[in-house]
């Protein structure tokens, strides 16, 4: 029996219908409280949809999502999103300076706190006065992560955050995720890149056709996963498109 407190998130028969199709189909699984959990699967499999259910940007048609043992549907959505941060696939710097971006998350943030948050994501203090929309993709994504960290979240959802940055920035963002996880902030990372999955993950949830086809430590995925999942993870099965 799954003990709710051992898991950051529990997906209990989560179903979501929308855009004329079944996007999640009785997805059952859990995300552990520690380490980096990677949601991996073909494009259109429902990984991002499942992730968005965690901070209530999407709401299941049936089933429930538990966060630290509590039904997400019963929690105040605004407070939930301060605890469960999210960084999106495409960098979304807001108009204005980096400082002003951080102030969106916390209007009373001091420069001392802002500087230390930027340091956490590998940006030096000079970035505070730079115009956020003028930054490179990798820098902007780091600003978005810093903005999320301003709310002191317990977990950060990272939805294919490296898909629109170059490889140097990609490894940098992966290292940041590792650093966050080591400091006690949970990380849920979505990717369709199987090589990245093996670099980043401590735990894996394989999402196929809206269902969680396998979950477990990444070290056991080649031995414990069903054959169809192993075939997909080894790259033998062509990735489906949505």
């Amino acid at each position: 029996m799954i003990q709710p407190t051992q898991h950051r998130f529990i997906f209990d028969n989560v179903t979501l219908r929308g855009r004329g199709r079944l996007r999640l189909d009785e997805a059952c699984g859990s995300i552990p409280s520690s380490g980096i959990t990677v949601l991996v699967g073909p494009s259109g499999s429902g990984k991002s949809t499942l992730l968005r259910c965690c901070n209530r940007l999407e709401v299941p048609s049936a089933g429930r999502v538990l966060f630290s043992g509590n039904d997400v549907a019963a929690l105040d959505p605004l407070k939930l999103r301060r605890r469960v941060g999210m960084v999106f696939q495409r960098p979304t710097p807001f108009p204005g300076t980096v400082r002003e971006n951080l102030q969106v998350a916390e209007p009373s943030i001091t420069d001392v706190t802002a500087t230390s948050t930027l340091a956490q994501v590998g940006l030096n203090p000079e970035f505070l006065d730079r115009v956020a929309t003028d930054l490179s993709g990798g820098e902007a994504q780091r600003v978005c992560l810093a903005r999320t960290l301003v709310t002191n979240p317990e977990v950060v959802l990272m939805d294919e955050v490296t898909s629109s940055v170059d490889s140097a920035q990609r490894f940098g963002l992966e290292a940041l995720a590792r650093s966050l996880s080591s400091s006690g902030v949970g990380v849920v990372w979505v990717t369709h890149d199987l090589v990245q999955m093996r670099r980043v993950a401590d735990h894996v949830l394989v999402v196929v056709n809206g269902r969680i086809a396998h979950q477990g430590p990444v070290s056991e995925v080649d031995t414990e996963a069903p054959e169809s999942v192993r075939a997909f993870l080894s790259g033998e099965t062509p990735q489906e498109s949505s």
């Binding site: 929308g18 901070n55 940007l57 605004l78 999106f88 979304t92 807001f94 969106v104 998350a105």
Partner: protein, 260 residues
């Protein structure tokens, strides 16, 4: 009082002919549209003129004029919905927008005694208020939907930081309102510099002194400015409420959605 008679109207059709000839010469293919527009304008104006002749007879109750205003609000709201089908729930929103604007602007003009309330003042002023707010009302609704759709990622990034939906939507609502209001502000600034506006022109042609005509025109410009500000604000508040859920999620707005 200026009167052109039927012969004058017939002669003025020469100007429609000018537009038709230009269309033929430049191969614009608009001859039929020009002819149809001229015919429609004449028919509609005559119909309105006949109705106004009846309404402006001595002893006619002002309730008929208020009914006319209500019909204008209804037709304007239907027109707005037709021109912006992608904006959800626009018909009832437009009814509320034009209705609120009518209460506010006509309340100031008649309630504070700027104009005497009677059939002769109510119908034209209400018509000016509604007619001049139409374009801005359509524009602000479409603009807000476009902004929220095209910048969905940015909006959701704000929501994901724990911002309530009305705060997350603020920059985009502000942008849409500015887009809709700036043209009317510019028109108000330029009035009288480039062209003599319609109300003033009509009054002067009718024999009113230019000074009195100018005062009326200024009041009309302020009426329109106040009306545009009111209708666009009501529309943005209403559209914003329709596009976000109570638990602060942004609903999907597709380019093809009619929202009906």
């Amino acid at each position: 009082m200026t009167s052109i008679g039927w012969s004058g109207l017939a002669i003025s059709l020469l100007l429609v002919l000018v537009a038709t000839v230009i269309s033929l010469w430049k191969q614009l293919g608009l001859e039929r549209s020009i002819a149809w527009a001229a015919v429609r304008a004449a028919v509609q104006l005559f119909a309105i003129g006949l109705l106004l002749q009846v309404l402006l007879r001595p002893g006619v109750s002002i309730l008929w004029a208020w009914l006319w205003v209500a019909v204008m609000v209804m037709i304007a709201s239907l027109t707005v919905r037709q021109r912006a089908p992608e904006v959800p729930g626009l018909f009832p929103l437009a009814l509320v927008a034009f209705g609120s604007s009518a209460v506010l602007t006509l309340g100031v003009l008649f309630g504070l005694g700027v104009f005497e309330l009677n059939v002769r003042t109510l119908i034209p002023l209400a018509g000016l208020m509604i007619g001049n707010s139409l374009a801005a009302t359509v524009l602000v609704g479409r603009r807000l939907v476009e902004e929220l759709r095209d910048k969905r990622d940015e909006v959701e990034a704000r929501l994901a930081l724990g911002q309530p939906s009305h705060i997350a939507a603020k920059p985009y609502v502000r942008g849409a309102l500015r887009t809709a209001l700036i043209p009317q502000i510019e028109t108000t600034k330029a009035v009288g510099l480039v062209v003599l506006p319609g109300a003033m022109t009509g009054l002067i042609l009718a024999g009113v002194s230019p000074l009195n005509a100018v005062l009326v025109q200024a009041a009309v410009m302020y009426l329109v400015l106040g009306s545009v500000a009111t209708t666009t604000t009501v529309i943005t508040l209403g559209v914003q409420r329709r596009l976000f859920t109570r638990d602060h999620r942004l609903l999907l707005v597709s380019a093809e959605s009619s929202g009906r």
